[in-house]
Symmetry: C2
């Protein structure tokens, strides 16, 4: 077995790349939530000055990418690889956002796990000696996602209590071989787990089994315990999925402890905001990571954080055909200096 | 700049990983074409024994993956990473095909460039020391793709002469650190290029500019010339896109020569098969690579081949909104021992 592998799902990085810049943009609702001060920019207009919600989502992503390059003081052409994806069919938010960016681009599909999938591949590209600087980015938009995956917004359908609210937001991270910032030390990559959930309104239940498997693999492969982390943050199980995850992990003998929370829980205030089980969408974990987790590591509040992003591999076509919704979860360990 | 980078778009592999196994499955039409003997299996039933075309596509992919593992004499659990994606919204062909496979999975979206995107990332994962064995795979299906991207099949719409025929097929490759087979020596990763084409029936024109840019970058970065390759094979520009590519490259001072052809041209016979401009779809380049290119390198017919897979980043939603269709092209150099 090659030397950087620790087990079936985890690799360690010999020269851990660092997140040298991060930028997050949120929509109006996100700007009214508990993390309102964590966004670099809040866009109140759901159309973001564009003509369609798809264009708006793409514009948010491009703004986040441009802001991030500015913070890193790098031109887009200085990036060796971009890793990008989103929820829209055929990942058009990313494709359109990056269509005039002069850097090689790997398109990803990991649903809401995309930001950690991108960060994982970017870290391997840098530590492996193929790149000095990479960007990982993703986006989601309540309006473009809801009408694609569930119902036309104009229909005004009643939402069940277990549903989550797709975050309108985008975030970009720049990972570099040198520099200061949180380092990516371990990468635990998930497999596709299908627990048989068929309710397209209950993403938390569909994703929690994948999160349990990836977290269990991470602790098994690294020999670490949950207490070794100042925070274990999943994204985006929401309140329902988080509860299921805690139960599933206990059955596996893994007590995640009080430091475990979820981006979908952090981003909205359930008392003030009518979001049912919490936030979801690629932009949820990505913007919480860029705007909240990374700054808290830089400030020294947290030394070690495990971020485990979950994705529900849902398609409206197959959901209508009666298929179940597979889930996936990718995790990275981030460590301050 | 890190030592493995040769230029803005290309990296070289210090210990080139090798394609130790490859498997291709085709549909009925593919089994009647010039490459009929290159497929490991031909499935005449468009439903592949399933109830929907989406399930059928997923079944083709799973069969290709299982066949490939069998050829490599590896269990799926011995694979360190899977790299998979497809054309269906939210990449469900891959997700469903791999939902009980016990190996970490990175989901990709590169449209018809997916197999080379996967091979590129797999090669970096192995050469970088993160994996011993990886699989790259993808699929497409005429019926699931046409109804998703264009018109219901029942409508029986007239197809324009520039359209391509989406290949029903799937292929999987296993890349390993050790073993015999064609080695991946250079990886040239494309950027997103948007030439402003808005005709969802003319994929070749949408993708040719990206192919021109990636090939130009490859020869610039490596210092190689087209004559250094026994074959330069794009996938899947078809006849229309191939002609545009040759013209665009000539304008850049790059004569691709007579050894340049395209998977979309190779897979069907235009005199016998009514496919207009040729084949397309993720399964086109993937099955031609697995069933034709790899065996020709192993047999010694070709020593060095440049495979440049093109993807049209088309979404039915944005096409109807009047947006253009960005393209991308990823290339790898394959070399016999």
């Amino acid at each position: 077995m090659c030397i950087k592998r620790l087990g079936s799902a985890t690799v360690s990085l010999s020269s851990p790349p660092v997140i040298t810049a991060a930028a997050a943009i949120g929509g109006k609702k996100e700007g009214q939530g508990p993390l309102r001060d964590c966004f670099d920019r809040i866009i109140d207009d759901a159309y973001c000055g564009c003509q369609t919600w798809e264009q708006a989502e793409s514009a948010l992503l491009r703004q986040a990418f441009d802001l991030c390059c500015g913070k890193a003081q790098l031109s887009a052409a200085a990036l060796d690889y971009l890793f990008a994806g989103d929820l829209l069919a055929q990942c058009v938010s990313s494709s359109f956002a990056l269509r005039d960016v002069p850097a090689p681009c790997f398109g990803l599909y990991g649903a809401c796990s995309t930001i950690i999938e991108g960060l994982s591949l970017a870290a391997m590209a840098i530590d492996g000696g193929y790149a000095d600087h990479c960007a990982a980015m993703t986006s989601s938009h309540f309006c473009s996602a809801e009408r694609q995956f569930r119902l036309p917004l104009e229909y005004g359908g009643q939402r069940s209590p277990v549903t989550q609210w797709t975050v309108t937001g985008a975030a970009a991270l720049i990972l570099s071989a040198q520099g200061t910032g949180p380092a990516v030390t371990y990468i635990t990559t998930g497999r596709i787990v299908d627990a048989g959930i068929k309710d397209a309104g209950n993403m938390g239940a569909a994703m929690a089994p994948a999160a349990c498997e990836t977290l269990t693999a991470h602790f098994h492969d690294t020999g670490r315990r949950p207490a070794d982390y100042d925070a274990i943050i999943t994204g985006d199980l929401g309140r329902v999925g988080h509860g299921i995850l805690m139960d599933l992990c206990k059955r596996e003998g893994l007590d995640l402890g009080k430091n475990c929370t979820d981006c979908g829980i952090l981003i909205f205030d359930p008392r003030e905001q009518d979001v049912h089980a919490g936030g979801s969408g690629c932009g949820c974990c990505a913007s919480v990571l860029a705007g909240y987790i990374v700054p808290n590591i830089i400030s020294g509040k947290w030394k070690r954080v495990l971020v485990a992003a979950t994705g529900a591999l849902l398609s409206p076509t197959t959901a209508l055909q009666g298929e179940s919704i597979p889930g996936i979860c990718h995790a990275v360990a981030l460590e301050g200096r």
